[in-house]
Subunit: 329 residues, 2 copies
């Protein structure tokens, strides 16, 4: 009943053998054994389910699925980088609710021929990124599949605050940003051209750096709405505007376009501003704050919430390029 | 960047088109729009994460991944049945901790060419099974993939009780069972022979019937250890024994072998007792109770916990057949 599958890309089989040789339970032990579990873990891996504290009386929960060839390529990223990216995307969703991440569950579907070092590297990346947010992997599932599919579920704690949804923005609020824009798109553009430098943008595509702590800090400062920029600035500002029933105007002069991105854009014949306005996957946080609120450290004002609908840039539609990422295109 | 994929099995494309035509956001709306969310939902689908009440101050959480061709075949099961089975396997894990299920998150990876009615049917099955346990789908993710992969995360509420782990069994406890054994294995055997009857065992393989409410009832009655039978009676009793550091002896005369299974076994030249002792995926609950405790309605005594290690049947090793299911075989 096991799927035979094709040999996966990546390092050749080593002395450690394949996951088929290791077996399901050996693999699970390899993922979890000897790891320090997050502080709120009542019951960790090895039972029918994990149990976590939820002192707040509520729990934030989100799940993402990443597929080889769609969300990542093992000839562009190491398994370690893929693991970090999968976890980062989920933890950013938790942060975007204004919550502190508390734990992860991981579902791994992969060919039985996958070399054990590939899984070790993937899982090490997951633990490393989890550690950046002070959490760990408390449960999961491993199954055979012809493709590598990584499913991550992240949980979070609101610490007594209301969740910061996408729908609370009000005219008069300011739009704030914390984190980078356009870096992942720049890295992707470089990779697509078969180039291997500069490493800063390649690594930005391979491993985003979401500002996890900025989410709860924005919530504590009174953020009225928040989202993480996974689809692109314009697309995700659009999600805020639509959910809140408002318009959002972005001040183009306030949108940071890093000089490094401009250099890369010149080198590859692209437009750095396009990356910054439409590139996703950097997982910066975009939030609205009531006028007059002092934005927490690390946040900068990008624009204003106004009556109406949709997103404008300097008061005009920004329609030079298709905005954002949608699956099943 | 979308995976092209092969056309999936199942019904041909209809007027409703494919998921690629519908698009990611249209698909998400189709999965969630107009559905009644579970009572503890603070924030349902459509934001970066869901928020659920966790009145108990703890949350039970588990995740499973099901892969087409490994866990299900769309020429053997309808998408509706696959949806029910995926949800049932997860909710049974929650019940096996002694918890009441509270919510589900669903990750769907599928080819862009998948017909919309296939997804509608899959999702309707998920909602139906969720309804059996009084819960619903509060979040998730949909992505493109060359294979159909279903990832389900289930959450649960311990209602103030301690979680019932696998490790609490003590010598002198009785081993109890609630639910069916061997039915799914019988159905699989029939399907593998290309037969289309009897429907009772085919449906048992396609859609398990875990006794969700029996989990919290066992916990309230003082169960010391519990597991759901996903790998097979002997294998899962073995998991209890190993985690608890005890031996378990099963009284073969107490293990129910339904006359229907005996009839099917005769017809296909198999051994019904083998199905009952080693067949997984019925998701019955297996629990240990202190001696003298009145087992809740629906539970029957199968054996005893004793000092030592491993599982015996009538005091002897049961080694006629390999026991249970392991991935990456």
């Amino acid at each position: 009943m096991c799927a035979a599958g094709e040999p996966p890309p990546g390092p050749p089989p080593s002395d450690l053998g394949s996951v088929a040789e290791l077996g399901e339970f050996g693999l699970i032990a390899r993922i979890t054994a000897g790891r320090a579990l997050p502080p709120g873990t009542v019951l960790g891996p090895g039972d029918d389910a994990a149990v976590l504290t939820a002192a707040d009386g509520r729990v934030v929960v989100t799940t993402d699925v990443l597929v080889e060839g769609v969300h990542f390529r093992l000839d562009w990223s190491t398994p370690h980088q893929v693991g970090r990216k999968a976890v980062a995307a989920n933890l950013a969703d938790v942060a975007a609710m204004g919550a502190m991440p508390t734990a992860l569950l991981v579902g791994l579907a992969m060919p039985g021929r996958t070399p054990v070092p590939t899984v070790d590297d993937l899982v090490a990346g997951m633990w490393e990124e989890a550690g950046q947010a002070g959490v760990g992997i408390v449960g999961g599932d491993v199954v055979s599949c012809t493709e590598l599919v990584v499913s991550v579920t992240a949980l979070g704690d609101l610490q007594g605050r209301a969740p910061v949804t996408r729908s609370g923005a009000r005219p008069g609020d300011v739009l704030g940003l914390c984190g980078r824009l356009g870096w992942s798109a720049a890295g992707l553009a470089v990779l697509r051209r078969g180039l291997h430098a500069p490493l800063a943008v390649l690594d930005a595509h391979r491993v985003p750096q979401p500002p996890y702590r900025a989410g709860p800090q924005a919530a504590a400062a009174g953020a009225t709405a928040m989202i993480d920029v996974s689809d692109g600035l314009l697309a995700d500002a659009g999600h805020l505007a639509e959910a809140s029933g408002v318009g959002i105007d972005i001040d183009s002069a306030a949108v940071p376009v890093a000089s490094r991105l401009v250099e890369v854009a010149v080198a590859v014949g692209a437009d750095a501003r396009h990356w910054v306005f439409t590139g996703g996957e950097d997982h910066a946080l975009l939030a609205c704050f009531p006028a007059g609120v002092a934005l927490p450290t690390g946040w900068t004002v990008l624009g204003m919430v106004r009556p109406g609908r949709g997103v404008t840039v300097d008061g005009r539609p920004y329609d030079l390029f298709p905005a954002g990422w949608e699956h099943f295109c």
